[in-house]
């Protein structure tokens, strides 16, 4: 690939993220006023940080899973990992009202259970079929969404809360205490992203063909396990703060591959940047188009589903 063009694309991705960030801070349901300026900026910067973190991580995890499983249709949402994380967070929420620190932990456990369950379900005689994986993901996703509802009802939570847990939003309110949980989660999350990135070379080999991978000495089982665990931590962390957000992790990696080529060493950081930008723009739409705001997944699904259908049709 032409070096100059690649540089230009990186520059474009960064510029897109900066533009999205500016929009996110500048446009909101309330107008700036002199008295509330500081409060509004603080709140919008929190939202911005959460949006970059969530969008970036979801897209990067989506790109990693697509590469590892050699499957263009998977992402944390279609695999049921996000709803698994939502279930884990919901259980933690209902059981442990004492501390918000347990939510990310619950999210991680839920995500890990989901990804392993889906993988086992889709694995028939040692092989994982592409459509089987997505089918298993969708089935588990239904199950987990229903269980989220059940847990919320049994735990006497409001239905509004259940809806936002399953459809995502960036409006989480942080206190001086819970912001530290978020800071630690973000540090962990970024470390996880770098860790996944360090597998880029192995992911390249696996996504070309599993046989080649074996002959080139890549321990696919170990790689799969490592990616599953790290991805679960990442998705669990994100979902425990934002709820399950759909399709960002599916669409963004494809767009990035079109621009930067298939090498994971570029696709993963590219997906992080683009995912963050896309989520911020989605959030700007979600909170400004309808008074009172919408759950995020309504917006991301409107863009994501047509793209998903396109990918599906192309494979059939």
């Amino acid at each position: 690939m032409n070096r100059g063009r690649t540089t230009l694309i990186w520059f474009g991705l960064a510029a897109f993220l900066v533009l999205a960030a500016v929009l996110s801070v500048a446009i909101g349901p309330s107008a700036f006023s002199a008295e509330s300026l500081r409060a509004m900026l603080a709140l919008r910067f929190m939202r911005l940080t959460l949006g970059i973190f969530a969008g970036g991580v979801l897209a990067l995890v989506g790109a990693t899973l697509q590469g590892l499983l050699q499957n263009p249709l998977v992402d944390p949402f279609t695999l049921g990992v996000a709803s698994g994380a939502a279930l884990g967070s919901a259980v933690a929420l209902v059981l442990g009202r004492i501390s918000s620190a347990f939510l990310p932990l619950g999210g991680f456990v839920g995500a890990l259970v989901a990804i392993i369950a889906v993988y086992m379900l889709a694995r028939v005689r040692g092989r994982v079929a592409t459509n089987g994986l997505v089918l298993a993901g969708v089935i588990m996703s239904f199950l987990f969404s229903s269980l989220v509802m059940l847990v919320m009802i049994l735990g006497h939570r409001t239905l509004g809360e259940a809806v936002y847990m399953m459809m995502g939003y960036l409006g989480a309110v942080f206190t001086q205490r819970s912001i530290w949980v978020f800071v630690v989660a973000m540090a962990l999350g970024l470390a996880g992203c770098v860790w996944l990135w360090s597998y880029s070379r192995q992911l390249d080999i696996v996504s070309s063909s599993e046989e080649t991978a074996l002959s080139l000495g890549v321990d696919t089982e170990r790689l799969t396990l490592a990616v599953f665990v790290i991805s679960s931590v990442l998705v669990g962390l994100v979902v425990s703060f934002t709820g399950a957000i759909s399709f960002v992790g599916l669409v963004v990696p494809h767009l990035v591959r079109m621009m930067l080529g298939p090498a994971h060493v570029r696709v993963l950081p590219g997906s992080f940047l683009a995912g963050a930008g896309v989520l911020l723009v989605s959030d700007v739409l979600a909170r400004n188009v309808v008074p009172g705001g919408l759950p995020l997944s309504i917006v991301t699904a409107l863009v994501g589903v047509p793209f998903f259908i396109y990918l599906l049709r192309r494979r059939l």
Partner: protein, 274 residues
């Protein structure tokens, strides 16, 4: 419409002969509305009450009444099995049930008072229907007198009511509690909301700068709210006027304790004028 006129006819029928002696057979009633259950006890007609919901928990004695299910989803079969002469229900949550009971020709009284005056009228009608009209009139008179005795106030503080923290939700202008806030001499900062209980953004709270914050859900304490990132500039937080640990049934149940709710609100909103 047909249903409304049926109810009206029923009410007229009973109201039309108020002063005769008590009926020989006491009316068996089921209350699916916690506030109506409170009214029934307050007017001393609890011996008519044969069924209620799991949420009908005030006064304490109401907990022992036979339960026909949850307020959101009462069990029709259990209601019918009680053979009630009258069922108290509310809309819109119990819409399907009301239709079903009407179909089964079981008389239904739809309780939906939107403001304090409507609560007074409802106490009167419930008392009349259950043959304890005099008690009901006494109760209403006492409640009105208490409202009248509230001291004058000069300020109208801006109030933010929080009913959920994740997502942030408040009560809009078309809610019962909004009327109570106005009665208590406050102004709901989200009175312009289109929905009854809208989801809102933290920045909308910051911009509207409430002078008092009422936490009407169990998830957060006043201390958590004062330590929220970006909330420190809000007048209520700066003045330490964030109130938790409030018995919010007083605000959400349009029943005999509604004046208690207004008095409590009045004290919270005008702490100096006590």
């Amino acid at each position: 419409m047909a249903r409304a006129s049926l109810l009206f006819a029923l009410a007229l029928l009973v109201c039309g002969r108020p002063s005769r002696q008590k009926p020989a057979v006491r009316l068996r009633v089921v209350s699916l509305v916690p506030s109506v259950t409170e009214v029934i006890y307050a007017v001393g007609a609890e011996r008519s009450l044969v069924g209620s919901t799991n949420q009908c928990d005030y006064p304490d004695a109401a907990k022992a009444v036979y339960k026909v299910g949850d307020f959101m989803d009462p069990d029709v079969e259990r209601i019918v099995a009680l053979g009630p002469g009258l069922v108290f229900a509310t809309l819109p949550v119990q819409k399907r049930l009301v239709d079903k009971l009407t179909e089964l020709k079981i008389p239904v009284y739809v309780s939906r008072p939107q403001n304090v005056e409507a609560v007074f009228r409802e106490i009167d009608s419930v008392g009349t229907l259950l043959g304890v009209r005099a008690r009901a009139e006494q109760l209403v008179a006492a409640m009105m007198a208490r409202l009248e005795s509230l001291p004058r106030h000069t300020d109208t503080p801006r109030v933010y009511v929080e009913i959920s923290a994740t997502p942030l939700m408040t009560a809009g202008g078309h809610t019962f509690i909004n009327g109570l806030i106005e009665r208590a001499g406050g102004r709901n900062v989200f009175e312009d909301a289109l929905q009854e209980y809208p989801v809102i953004d933290a920045e909308m709270v910051a911009q509207r700068d409430p002078q008092a914050i009422l936490l009407l859900h169990p998830d957060v304490k006043a201390l958590d709210v004062t330590s929220r990132v970006g909330w420190s500039c809000i007048s209520a937080v700066r003045a330490g006027r964030v109130y938790d640990d409030i018995d919010y049934d007083l605000f959400f149940r349009p029943g005999p304790r509604v004046v208690d709710g207004i008095v409590l609100l009045f004290r919270l909103l005008h702490p100096q004028g006590r």
